[in-house]
């Protein structure tokens, strides 16, 4: 974070260019991203992102916590998709432990994970459209997002920082009417996507602002480490849910939308189509969710049910031990990657055999995606920078950690 020096290493190259400081408090930088722009009239000559304003040292904090205490911290990394973070962390620790998860918990995880993806994409669509000047879309998107947040509240008690996925399963059995509510939402939602698309996809102003803007080729996107819709918008066919399935994604049918040109419009179309695919997956989970337990049968790792804890001596002992001294995890290291709404989210966890992780590292999809920004914007108009930032769906909490 170079914010102590006014213009780190970016000095005007020639007399006719000037340095423009965009952010960190700028409405369209989606958080606290600071961009140093060297501009020649309206054209961006050079761009340098400056980050670190939200750095809270989560990786260091994790080293001082028991494995199960890390779960709430993961919510706060990418705050638009807390459940995807929970999932990635839980999967990594389960891989370290060699723990098998019951099918019902896996299906619940898929369902909630896809609802989170829709939630995240709705925030992206609303803010991205608002950056470019379409105010109405924002209001429509937040209307549906509210429905999803209510579902989160029903299942986990929290609207945003859910911590619903735990090591060994999920926190609780969902409430009785939960699946009916999800079904109602899933039946209603496709028509809402039609509404958004009706406002934007064929809109001449939208197309002028997005088509051919901030293009990036497939080779450049791969070389710069881009992932998710930022990579698929350039036509690279990769989706970890389909290609390296985790938590039972192999049981579901869905398409992976691809772009061609790698411009803002293609990335927009990819994400909007993903909304439809995700709601399709939610429908499939509703149709076929198996019954059974929602937690693995591993009393030394998974907290016992509240009722058991109050009536059974053994459960009480396990509960006491897990809460006070955690559980030991066998020595080793794993890298678990999942497809987050923004791309490849990876957790690299090293265990030294104790009850606290020796090292937790989060691979932030946004950090790599952000590296494509200068490539997208240099040589183009200043006004397109706003469209480019929106199109990579940047979340600074994930970048800075």
């Amino acid at each position: 974070m170079a914010h102590l020096t006014p213009t780190p290493a970016l000095e005007p190259g020639q007399d006719k260019t000037m340095i423009l400081n965009m952010g960190p408090q700028h409405p369209s930088t989606h958080g606290v991203l600071r961009l140093l722009l060297e501009i020649d009239g309206e054209t961006v000559v050079r761009m340098m992102p400056d980050i670190g304003f939200l750095h809270t040292g989560i990786e260091k904090t994790c080293e001082a916590k028991f494995y199960h205490q890390v779960v709430p911290l993961t919510d706060r990394i990418d705050y638009l998709c807390p459940l995807t973070n929970n999932l990635c962390y839980a999967l990594a620790v389960e891989k370290l432990l060699g723990l098998e998860i019951p099918p019902r918990a896996q299906w619940l995880r898929v369902m909630m994970n896809e609802l989170t993806r829709i939630n995240s994409h709705l925030v992206w669509l609303g803010t991205h459209a608002m950056d470019i000047g379409a105010m109405t879309v924002f209001l429509y998107c937040f209307r549906e997002r509210e429905d999803i947040l209510r579902l989160f509240e029903a299942i986990s008690g929290q609207r945003m920082m859910t911590s619903y996925f735990r090591i060994g399963g999920v926190a609780l059995e969902p409430p009785l009417d939960f699946f009916d509510r999800v079904r109602k939402f899933a039946n209603r939602f496709p028509s809402k996507v039609d509404e958004y698309e009706g406002l934007l996809t064929g809109n001449p102003i939208w197309m002028m602002r997005t088509k051919g803007v901030a293009t990036i080729s497939a080779e450049d996107a791969i070389a710069l480490g881009a992932s998710g819709p930022t990579l698929r918008g350039s036509g690279v066919d990769i989706d970890l849910r389909r290609d390296m399935p985790y938590t039972g994604y192999e049981n579901f049918k869905f398409n992976v939308p691809l772009g061609k040109e790698g411009d803002v419009f293609d990335r927009y179309l990819c994400r909007v189509r993903e909304l439809r695919e995700s709601i399709g997956i939610v429908q499939q989970t509703l149709d076929g969710i198996p019954s059974g337990p929602v937690k693995a049968n591993a009393p030394k790792v998974v907290l016992p049910d509240r009722e058991k804890m109050k009536t059974e001596m053994e459960a009480l002992i396990y509960h006491f031990k897990i809460v006070t001294e955690g559980f030991a995890v066998p020595e080793g290291e794993v890298y678990q990657a999942v497809e987050s709404p923004r791309g490849e989210m990876g957790y690299y966890i090293v265990s030294d055999g104790s009850a606290k992780p020796y090292r937790v590292h989060m691979r932030a999809a946004c950090l790599a995606n952000m590296q494509t920004l200068p490539k997208m914007c240099e040589g183009r108009l200043l006004a397109d920078v706003v469209a480019a930032i929106g199109s990579i769906d940047i979340v600074l909490g994930e970048i800075d950690r």
């Binding site: 670190g52 070389a223 890298y335 690299y348 790599a368």
Partner: protein, 165 residues
């Protein structure tokens, strides 16, 4: 599901495309291999890392063309103290491999990968910022997350976690 024991015998693991390619190129560059929990780890000699990555990227039958991540682990107080970890991914073959370089605690430094993947830039800056590992040949090796005038490297294990500073 019980954990299978880790395999560390290089002869057994030669079927993996990355191991085969690197051993075929220069057996001395490969310091060790480990297959544990379905994940392949290859320890690379420090000076060979950049060339090893370029070879794996351009590998004909299984190109590891995507750099997922670079990070570091501090094993203070044991030596070699630092392990720099690279996660490579093959988009055509959907394979992952982990490369590892061990570095001593005194002035840890190794070659930068920015000439192989430009995307290594920010990952290496982050490792430099939080661990103090230097990357030779990096175009702009400055702190990324911490302020410019920060003292010390917070993710090192001997970094003080309490008290005034």
């Amino acid at each position: 599901m019980a954990l299978a024991p880790a395999v560390t015998d290089i002869e057994q693991l030669k079927g993996h495309p990355a191991v085969a390619r690197l051993v075929g190129w220069n057996p001395k560059a490969v310091e060790g291999v480990k297959f544990d929990r379905e994940e392949m780890t290859i320890c690379i000699e420090r000076s060979a890392i950049r060339q090893a990555c370029a070879l794996l990227r351009d590998n004909a039958n299984c190109p590891f063309n995507y750099l997922s991540d670079i990070t570091c682990v501090d094993w203070y107080p044991s030596e070699p103290r630092f392990e720099v970890i690279y996660h490579l991914f093959s988009i055509p073959n959907k394979e992952r491999v982990r490369l590892k370089v061990k570095l001593s605690g005194e002035t840890p430094a190794l070659d930068s990968l920015t000439s192989v993947w430009p995307g290594a830039n920010y990952f290496e800056r982050e490792v430099f910022d939080l661990f103090g590992v230097r990357f030779n040949g990096h175009p702009y090796l400055r702190r990324l997350l911490m302020p410019e005038n920060w003292e010390g490297h917070p993710l090192r294990k001997d970094y003080p976690v309490e008290g005034y500073r």
